[in-house]
Amino acid sequence: MKQYIDFFNSYRKEIDRGCAPLLNSYREAALDMFASTVLSSPRKRGSHDDPCAWDSRLHGNDVDFGFYLSRASINVNPYRVFRCDVPNLNSHKHFVVNGHFVGNKTQNDLPATVFSDSLNAFARQYPSLFTKYYNQIASAKEDGLSAFNTAFVQDGYVLYVPENVVIDRTVQLTNISAGNNNSLINRRMLFILERGAKAKILVCDHAYDECPITANTQVVEIYAGENAGFDFCELEESSPNTIRLTNCFVRQDEASEVRINSITLNNGTTRNNYTVDLAGKHAGTHLYGMAVADNRQKIDNYTLINHLAPNCKCRELFKYILDGEAEGVFNGRIIVAENARKTEAYQSNRNLLGSRSCRMFSNPQLEIYADDVKCSHGMTTGQLDEQALFYICSRGVRKEEAVLLLKFAFTDDVISEIRIDGMCNRLKMLVEKRFKGELVTCRDCGRINE
């Protein structure tokens, strides 16, 4: 840990260079927070925001990371090189290369009042909005990963949708990791939806198998104002050499609706934290996750949904399909505060184990401090249904094919919760390929070096 603090103090100029002064002004306090959370609070070990958990993931690999500080030294225009080939996905496309937003003035036909650009541009052009929202939820949670990210962040993406503006087309953001050295990338996303605003975003993480070891820290803050609606769909299709550590914070005001789809199709080591505060009454959250892992892949999803106001609803479903020596963790917690009457909260975690050596750790938790609520939680971990398998085989389907059908069926309810046009079908195809052991990449994505 100390090495990061030393690095910060020695290379402060390089860290700041090219970044907006306003963004840089958050670093010092964040580093202090990082130092104090990491060094002084052993009691937090193993908890939702255990700062050591992610540190061990970085150092478990015994790799020296170079901080990725240089502003996109890649002289390729991703807008020309990439062709997202998902049929029927008519989206506003954006790219973040190694944590740096790559702008494209010509293509952007979003409503004029919408801001969709880099984090640094947002800090420069909208300092008051930036100050109002940036790092607000993240810092309040006093969490080591967020503090680290805030201290070292170089850039990222901001989508600001003003009052009552509705973006019909999906906004698509593709994160690309590329380069020839082991690197640590710190990126950020900020989504602000004012009262009545609506938007959908698809975030794809791509990395190539032959990439060197890349560690990404990512902090996402989502603010959904009164009656706002936001879909946040994250898809990780990276590589065994990728380490991904993310914090996603959501704050919802009255009657807002937020839907999060978290899909891990291919990865190395992943830790996703989702924290949702239902702060206004009648707000609703849908949190759906799916993780497919084999070999020695590791996927942890930690979720915390805080019901802080009455009449809110949340529905949470996470499914894992593990094979090989993969390891999955689901740690889901829903807290219903004392005044959150008439809460409806449902949490479910279902896991399918395909081998003797894969492992699943699940910890579904529900804490209720209010009366008059409807809540449930449940978890199952097991193998494929033998009866179903036999039934299919008896119709003349080879066992491998029957297993594929059943595994595929297992993912159906999570995939069908995605409301981005074209994505459900594409994901079904990718999942099928994944189960067949074929290389999973959207054909044209992730090829910056070609």
């Binding site: 179903a388 299919i392 059943l406």
Partner: protein, 248 residues
């Protein structure tokens, strides 16, 4: 077509079938009747290769091939079909996808190209009509939320799609009302061909009013204790199983 010789089979170490012999020729319909626990369902499970049942002795020859050496899917390719007593619900697998996979696997086995989308839809529609299966069910998950009658019709629909040589109907009449029974039986009769055969397993004579058997067997305590023509079913209905049990 099918020759079963001295079959012994057990489940969880408990012997259920205790030396059963049965010969089925092409064009014949055999009814296997018997009280609860006599081994009727075990016989059907053994014929289609359910892994929970262990054959400890005897042999089953189907069209000259040793059935016991074949996994479930190969028995299906060879032309054996079981209409399950309790069809399995498979959430997330649509009927369309399930049937397309099965039909294409059969074609692949025969060295044929996969069926075209248009031909497949036509085939589905044609076969659905045979058992008057609601077309909406086809787009739903396999058997999920189907009523008892719909599940049984769905079994016969699958049978129609796969055109087996030997169909085994395991208590297809249980849980059916009179109308559904008639529709299912009519479906079976329409699929009847001189080169095919069927084994109808049932408790009651009722189904046999619709599907006329050539030969009726009584299975009791893991053995066939009596074989006769269709009149045996009528006699059983009248006198009950105690009548044949007493004779053993």
């Amino acid at each position: 077509m099918l020759i079963i010789k001295n079959l012994h089979a057990s489940v969880n170490g408990k012997e259920i079938i205790k030396g059963l012999d049965l010969h089925v020729k092409a064009g014949e319909i055999h009814a296997v009747m018997g009280p609860n626990g006599s081994g009727k369902s075990t016989l059907s499970a053994v014929l289609v290769g359910h892994p929970a049942f262990e054959v400890t002795e005897g042999e089953i020859i189907f069209e000259g091939r040793n059935l016991l050496e074949m996994p479930a899917e190969e028995r299906s390719f060879a032309g054996i079909f079981l209409s399950f007593q309790y069809p399995v619900e498979i959430p997330g697998v649509s009927m369309v996808n399930f049937m397309r996979t099965a039909v294409n696997e059969h074609r692949k086995y025969r060295g044929e190209e996969p069926i075209s989308a248009g031909d497949f839809l036509k085939l589905m529609r044609e076969k659905q009509a045979i058992v008057e299966l609601d077309k909406n069910l086809i787009n739903r998950s396999v058997n999920e939320g189907f009523s008892g009658g719909e599940k049984k019709r769905n079994e016969i629909f699958q049978m129609a799609m796969l055109e087996p040589k030997l169909s085994i109907l395991d208590e297809t009449d249980s849980g059916l009302d009179i109308d559904a029974l008639r529709i299912v039986a009519q479906g079976v009769n329409r699929l009847r061909k001189p080169e095919n055969a069927a084994i109808v397993i049932t408790h009651y004579q009722r189904l046999l009013n619709y599907i006329k058997p050539d030969i009726v067997h009584v299975l009791y305590n893991g053995k066939i204790i009596r074989t006769a023509g269709p009149e045996l079913a009528m006699e059983l209905e009248e006198k009950g199983y105690d009548w044949v049990k007493g004779e053993e």
